[in-house]
Symmetry: C2
Subunit: 355 residues, 2 copies
Amino acid sequence: MSENRLFGVIIAGGRGTRFWPLSRKARPKHLLNFLGETTLLRQTAERVLPLTGAGRLFVVTAESQADEVGKILTDIPPQNILAEPAGKNTAPAIALAAAHIIDEDPNGIMIVLPSDHIIEPRDKFMADVEEAARLADTRRALAIFGIRPTRPETGYGYIEVGQKLDGHAFGVASFKEKPNLKKAKDYLATGRYLWNSGMFVFRADVYMEKVRRHMPKLFTAWERYAKGNRGAEDLNEYYAVAEAISIDHGIMEKLEGEAAVIAAGFNWSDIGSWDATDDLWAADEKGNRARGGDLFPMAAEGNTVVSKKLVALLGVENLIVVETDDAILITKKEKAQEIKNLVQEMERRGLHRYL
Amino acid sequence: MSENRLFGVIIAGGRGTRFWPLSRKARPKHLLNFLGETTLLRQTAERVLPLTGAGRLFVVTAESQADEVGKILTDIPPQNILAEPAGKNTAPAIALAAAHIIDEDPNGIMIVLPSDHIIEPRDKFMADVEEAARLADTRRALAIFGIRPTRPETGYGYIEVGQKLDGHAFGVASFKEKPNLKKAKDYLATGRYLWNSGMFVFRADVYMEKVRRHMPKLFTAWERYAKGNRGAEDLNEYYAVAEAISIDHGIMEKLEGEAAVIAAGFNWSDIGSWDATDDLWAADEKGNRARGGDLFPMAAEGNTVVSKKLVALLGVENLIVVETDDAILITKKEKAQEIKNLVQEMERRGLHRYL
């Protein structure tokens, strides 16, 4: 494309309960910098800014996080930070951004990225995005990045790859829900499945066509918002009407032949829980990892520790230990996925001040 | 005895490395109050004061701890706090106290107690001490309290019980070093062995007779100290000469027919390591125990936690977790005895500021 029609849309709505006690309601995962020099949100912005420029980068976030997002992304126009009055999952959030993008360029192409993934190297990411953008433009496809699975992960959706289109692009034979372990192993064995990364590239107008067809109620609310003066009242009304539904369930799974998957050439992690840090942080010779303070392991293996204090581990294995100013979490790595249940239970018991 | 000739001698010299990170060099176990309303030292004093009165209670402690001991035992005369310039184990420490006791009463009877044990109920303890004192006086015996074993403990010395003397008193057939597990099981099975509690009752002059016979070098140094003006220089000289040896190895094991054991009627714990708190602290229905802050266990059993923070435990079992201002320890209960090795290793690596 000779003319730049790319727009970035960062979806920064997550609560990140799986990284409790470091992540909190007011300090979700993408606002933390425990995985690099900067926050995950800033890392995500840096990844897409070379493609779009600051003026064409949007962020959809929660009202409670909008100020903090603005402090991290001082280079983008304040009006590009879209603050949701209610969390309604990704389909309405992406439509909201689409309204603003279509204003600026009716042929605009959206790069939709969660705010809290780790991707490298950046040049491969940029090349794949450009390939996806061509596909989105020439075929009017909704393109999704698929990640080659390295393990029978049960925490992700899968994409069954269909016929080859061109380059690294394929049709989508089907979308699969998060599988059980047996199914995940089957998917891995066939070699015909990719992980659903939750990252998309499509024309804004094409996305809205699909919304009109598959989520007509949302489309009606969206049209009213898009054609109105877009004040707080209009936004509240849009969010009051919008169904809370993901782009995957609301749109992608209903497409036939209009979805395309790009087999990603970059490395990707959604760092969905503490155990994912195993792939990101350097370990000592016994597989122990630490961030923050000093670790003193003795007959201890495979532990991951986040604390500003000296942490002495004696004869323990595969623990996750996270200390903050007011709380300490201790669990096993194999239980890392269940931290969200722990947080839910704490909420139910009224321990709000720790959440 | 119509006339009170009882003197208390609290041996408060321990480092308590097994309770790291709560216990430190400058804050050993007996100066902590984590096991009750008051410090273990104060609890020990309260136990013996009704028998001796404040004027006849002595404490032998390290120079570095003398100020803190004085703050805890404000009711005893300051000159009764004997500060050792060097740690030389119990035989020299008890002899030091004996010098001061013989001054006050040549027929004085010493009740020698470690500063950091838990004993209850107090009335049974007092009755046993009085029985031991009669034995010590009438038979000129060195009496030791033996504890009926409840498990094949390998961390204590054992006393083989000999012929019955009277009441709960028996001759000592032999003293046994800390056994291995097989031996400990044998001792337990025979029913003829008691745990060595490290608590003694004897006449001060009788103890010094035994020192003269079995530790003549110490006796010579002691005589010089006892007959001198007992200034700092004299004390330093005594400790420079004194061999570092326990009363058990230096004296008790060498006695033949002069040692007696009282089978204690009281409950006793030397709370030698964190796992001993299992017998002292109330647990929730899953066997989790906490001191300090809130505990939030989920699928967690048998853990013991000391922290001022909220500690969330997810799917972990039989852990000991101790948090202080600058350090966190995490280990398994079965490794509690090895914390002293951990502390030694930290010392070797130069981590003095945590010790």
